[in-house]
């Protein structure tokens, strides 16, 4: 008998199939890679998925099913490798193999969505593999893909592949069958020996049941039982309640609940072994909660542990030590680095919650928090971290000392901000060193900081800023000093004005200085101002005119009787320029006074109106 014709035809078909299957698996690998490289809405992802879908459906129309076996680096179809990629990180084959899949089948009727889901399942599992929810088999199983089936083994590390390699085609289940291919359970262990069948008759007792035996129920239901049975029926309220329970369960993350349970256990009188394991579990949970975006619960855990750590008198020593270690461990870099990505995404309210958590950390965590500050990009995040560090370092300024010499100017500025928030005079010793920092923005922050700290020592340093090489710093410093209205500041400003170099300064700076002088000076400095206005021999040119004008303004700003008297007197003098500027200054003074009076009138009227309304009520 000759079978050659049929065999040749089969070979031709197989060859054609191999070619097609090669194309399919290559397209599949490409689609898998595109999922790793591109975002969900990228057209490349869609086109690559379309390619594999079209190729696959074309094949399945003729062949109903496509099955290949899965090795570490290859897809095998009828004994031939149709795809090969030894790169474990890149290859979809290894991911399938590592998590136990040995055969993968596609069935006619497969949809594009199902194919996409399969690729998602492969992509969502980390390259290192997962023991928990995140293994490939579970991901595929959960997705309920009616037209994709698989055969998986229990544990790819222990399983002897040679058993399966012997069979050319798997007995993969039909598409649509619910037990979709988990034929992995240990067949050899099922009961093999069976007892012979029972005889084809039953004991005579079965014909006439014995009466009076306590275990026989005399009638179907008692009255009470009937009531119970009637209660089986679910009302609308019952259905709503059940629906709510299911919905709540679906939404709740179990981490919070488990952390509550662990805290309950720690509060109980369990042995040290139990508490050690539970504390370790809490530590893991704490980090996970931060990563999850739930710092509130993490804060609660930390506070409770700090509470335990503080109860040395009443709790066992080893547990107190454990609690202290727990608190310390929360401040380690490995822990804190997990919340960094969350900080950048957080809104204001969420940042407040993170702030609460970070403020609970021990002072040993200051360098780590500073490290986060160094890496932070968002302004709000940096502000929050500065607040945190200001609280952490309270009473422990030296913990921040090392950071003063940081070459990154923006961090030094942040450090000055922290000092500003702390308002601690002990920071002055560090700030003095920063008065001459090369970066203007740092020096500006120092000026702000000194102004916030206040007091004589801070003002002395502020006065030094009047000599800064940068105009913006000088102007900022003079504004801050003028608000103090102190004699020290006024003299320093006056001294600056008297310097020869002052005349070369810009108009706005001169105006600012004189204005500041006017706000902070008393009658003692009037003679100096008079000299600026009237003395001819010292001043020449527009610079001199400017000085006169601003000096007159300063007198108007001082506004005392003596100052205004001088202005009025000089306005009548023979010195035309002095007369001119003093007249201008007087006008300005009168205008300011009338505006102030109007404002105070309005204020009085407003106050009267409010009290009238209140009386009427």
């Amino acid at each position: 008998m000759y079978f050659g014709g049929a065999m040749e035809e089969q070979d031709i078909q197989l060859t054609r199939n191999w070619k097609q299957v090669c194309e399919i698996t290559t397209a599949l690998a490409r689609a898998y890679k595109s999922r790793q490289l591109y975002a969900a809405n990228n057209p490349v992802r869609h086109t690559s998925l379309d390619s594999v879908f079209l190729a696959l459906t074309d094949f399945l129309q003729q062949n109903e099913m496509l099955t290949f076996s899965v090795t570490e680096s290859q897809f095998i179809y009828y004994g031939k490798a149709v795809y090969s990629n030894p790169d474990r990180r890149e290859s979809p084959v290894f991911r399938l193999y590592r998590d136990g899949i040995r055969f993968l089948s596609f069935h006619e009727g497969i949809t594009r969505e199902e194919l996409g889901e399969l690729l998602d399942a492969l992509s969502e599992v980390s390259p290192e593999g997962g023991e928990g929810d995140m293994d490939v088999v579970t991901q595929i199983w959960e997705r309920d893909l009616a037209h994709i089936t698989y055969i998986a083994v229990d544990d790819c590390l222990d399983f002897d592949d040679s058993e399966l390699a012997a069979s050319p085609e798997p007995q993969s289940s039909q598409a649509g069958q619910p037990s979709q291919g988990v034929e992995s359970l240990d067949v050899a262990e099922s009961p093999e020996s069976f007892e012979p069948s029972r005889p084809a008759y039953l004991p005579p007792e079965m014909k006439q049941p014995t009466l009076g035996v306590a275990t026989i129920v005399d009638s179907p239901f008692t009255e009470e039982e009937r009531k119970s049975i009637a209660n089986v029926f679910l009302s609308e309220e019952d259905l709503d309640e059940i629906g709510q329970q299911v919905l709540t369960e679906d939404r709740q993350s179990p981490r919070e609940k488990v952390s509550e349970i662990f805290l309950e256990i720690l509060d109980g009188s369990w042995g040290s072994e139990v508490k050690t394991d539970v504390t370790r579990g809490l530590g893991v949970l704490c980090g996970d909660l931060l990563e999850d975006g739930n710092p509130t619960q993490a804060t609660k855990i930390l506070r409770e542990m700090k509470e335990f750590a503080s109860q040395e008198a009443s709790l066992p020593k080893d547990f107190v030590k454990m609690a202290k270690n727990f608190v310390q461990a929360r401040g380690r870099e490995g822990e804190l680095v997990r919340l960094e990505p969350r900080l950048e995404e957080a809104n204001l309210h969420e940042l407040e919650n993170y702030e609460c958590y970070l403020c609970e950390l021990p002072t040993s965590a200051i360098p780590q928090v500073y490290g986060i500050l160094a890496r932070a990009r968002g302004r709000k995040v940096r502000e929050m971290l500065c607040r945190v560090l200001s609280k952490m370092a309270k009473g422990n300024l030296d913990a921040l000392a090392d950071m003063i010499t940081d070459p990154r100017w923006y961090l030094v500025r942040n450090l000055v901000t922290i000092f500003r928030l702390m308002k601690d005079r002990r920071a002055l010793v560090y700030l003095e060193g920063l008065l001459y920092h090369e970066e203007t923005r740092v020096r500006a922050e120092v000026v702000h900081c000194l102004s916030e700290i206040g007091g004589q020592e801070a003002n002395i340093l502020l006065c030094r800023c009047l000599q800064d090489s940068e105009k913006s710093i000088r102007m900022l410093a003079v504004r801050k000093l003028s608000r103090e209205r102190e004699e020290l500041g006024a003299s320093a400003i006056a001294d600056s004005i008297k310097e020869k170099s002052f005349r070369k300064r810009s108009t706005d700076e001169k105006r600012e200085f004189f204005d500041a002088l006017g706000r902070s000076a008393s009658d003692d400095l009037i003679p100096s101002l008079e000299e600026f206005i009237t003395k001819r021999s010292l001043f020449h040119g527009p610079e001199a005119d400017e000085m006169r004008r601003f000096a007159a303004m300063a007198l108007a700003r001082i506004g005392t009787e003596k100052a205004i008297g001088l202005l009025e007197k000089t306005a009548q003098s023979g010195n035309s320029k002095a007369r001119k500027y003093c007249t201008e200054a007087l006008k300005l003074y009168k205008l300011r006074s009338s505006v102030q009076e109007e404002k105070s009138q309005e204020h009085i009227v407003g106050a009267n109106q409010r009290s009238d309304v209140a009386r009427e009520r």
Binding site: G109, V187, T215, V217, S219, D288
Partner: protein, 490 residues
């Protein structure tokens, strides 16, 4: 499966399926001119019109035990469970993949279709035959599509294969639980992957047909009580969760949590666990500690992923009652986890129905269900216990009954319909003359031509009294020594 290209109101689709169920059931009881039939048909047409507003047709498809309406899968929940299952079963029986209702459908055609299905016997009418008869009756606005592959396989083969798989799964899971608990007792890291595969197989079995696995839970091995018990609780819990409409992923997590709810018992001395007399106060405190020990062991030996976390919660809470009595008592007022409440009920039921060294005669399954109902609100969540009772039935699988016909029967499957909760599916094991019978399961809800029930329960029979091996009655020879034989030997 057609791709869904337009948004569809899944709530309306569920109503459509429920109403189709009503129509198919009502035509079995009433004549066409009956007002109830007319109302049912009219309601169905109203809902169909709402669903079909943006479509030319509405296609109800059944695949792998799930229903799809125009390509959108319908999620099962506790209120729609019975109707969902019924429609799936009917479609599977007739080898139907889909039923397509066209826009031009009239009530008359719908009635003709429903009555045709009611009168057809799936054993005698294959798909082609049914299709031909529908056309002959002038039903053109309802078309049916054939399920791919399933007609080639005999229904019996499918069932047999599924049952074999369920058996394999059950026994393998017991072995896996034993291995894992032994590892846990030595504080070795626990490889959960095998357990996960086993639970996934249990979920698949339950989703296909829970009754066979529930039948396996009648195997009560009091020597290896803990391992057997864990698997039984897992099966009950997964079946329970399915009723509540939990997703496959959640069912997997529930199954794992249920499987390891008693892991803490590895820390309890064997002689306390198996002490025949009552426990002293100290021993009782040790016994109660298994909940804390279990959650501690899970934290120590497993990764703290979502699955393990849910298992920790269940291990800790599964002895806390609905009224917060029980143990351990929760520190501050908080709600109990849904999974804990489910496992609480499943755990209690299996424990009551298993012989223990301190209680050699187990409680009857029927009696145990009534006990659970009685304790609703105190020991058990009141709504959940109702769902459990409706799942298990008033006469749970394995209950032996004497019927008013003189026959004896063993319950093999609870009724799907809660209205027939006292009328499960049974295998007749003995005729009125005492001769052993065989054959397919019969439903005690079956009625004769006069509308009367063919069979009624006269009484529950204690299987042990008559030396009946219930697991073998249900499942055939297992090769596992029955509890009764062990007791007889001792």
């Amino acid at each position: 499966m057609p791709e869904s290209t337009a948004r569809i109101d899944t709530r309306m689709c569920r109503q459509l399926v429920s109403q189709l169920y009503v129509v198919l059931r009502i035509v079995k009881i009433y004549e066409p001119n009956n007002a109830s039939v007319a109302n049912a048909l009219s309601s169905f047409m109203d809902i169909l019109r709402s669903v079909a507003e943006t479509w030319e047709s509405v296609n109800i498809e059944a695949t792998a035990g799930c229903l799809y309406v125009n390509g959108v899968r319908l999620k099962v929940d506790v209120s729609g469970y019975a109707s969902h299952r019924y429609i799936v079963e009917q479609m599977e029986k007739f080898g139907l993949r889909g039923i397509i209702f066209l826009n031009a459908l009239s009530e008359k055609e719908l009635a003709a279709f429903a009555y045709e299905l009611a009168e057809s016997d799936p054993k005698e009418s294959n798909f082609d035959e049914l299709e031909r008869r529908l056309k002959k009756k002038g039903i053109f606005n309802i078309t049916i599509s054939k399920a791919s592959g399933s007609v080639e396989m005999e229904e019996e083969d499918v069932t047999r294969k599924a049952e074999e798989q369920a058996k394999k799964t059950y026994f393998s899971t017991i072995k896996i639980v034993r291995q894992i608990m032994n590892s846990a007792s030595r504080f070795e890291a626990v490889k959960l992957r095998r357990a996960k595969r086993a639970v996934q197989a249990i979920v698949d079995s339950v989703l296909h047909d829970e009754s066979f696995l529930l039948g396996l839970t009648t195997i009560k091995n009091h020597d290896e009580y803990t391992f057997n018990h864990c698997v039984n609780v897992c099966v009950y819990s997964v079946a329970f969760g399915q009723r509540l409409g939990l997703s496959k992923s959640r069912l997997g997590q529930l199954g794992m949590a249920a499987l390891f709810h008693d892991l803490g018992k590895v820390e309890i001395a064997w002689d306390i666990l198996n002490k025949p007399e009552g426990l002293s106060q100290e021993e009782w405190e040790l016994m109660k500690s298994h909940t804390v020990q279990g959650s501690r062991l899970l934290a120590k030996l497993c990764r703290m992923d979502e699955q393990s976390l849910r298992a920790i919660i269940v291990a800790y809470e599964h002895h806390v009652n609905a009224d917060f009595s029980g143990y351990p008592s929760p520190g501050e007022a908080r709600s109990l986890d849904l999974f804990s409440k489910i496992v609480r009920i499943a755990d209690a039921f299996d424990a009551m129905t298993t012989a223990r060294v301190y209680r050699m005669i187990p409680r009857d399954p029927h009696d145990s269900v009534l006990f659970l109902l009685k304790e609703a609100g105190k020991g058990f969540d009141p709504q959940l216990v109702k769902v459990f009772a409706s799942m298990i039935g008033i006469y749970p699988v394995g209950t032996v009954l004497q019927l008013d016909t003189g026959e004896y029967a063993v319950v093999v499957k609870p009724s799907r319909d809660i209205a027939d909760i006292g009328r499960p599916f049974v295998n007749i094991i003995a005729g009125s003359e005492g001769m052993q019978c065989g054959g397919d399961p019969v439903s005690l809800a079956e009625m004769d031509e006069h509308g009367n029930y063919k069979r009624n329960v006269k009484r529950v029979v204690d299987a042990e009294q008559f030396g009946l091996n219930v697991p073998e009655l249900l499942l055939g020879p297992l090769g596992v020594e029955p509890v009764e034989a062990q007791q007889a030997d001792s």
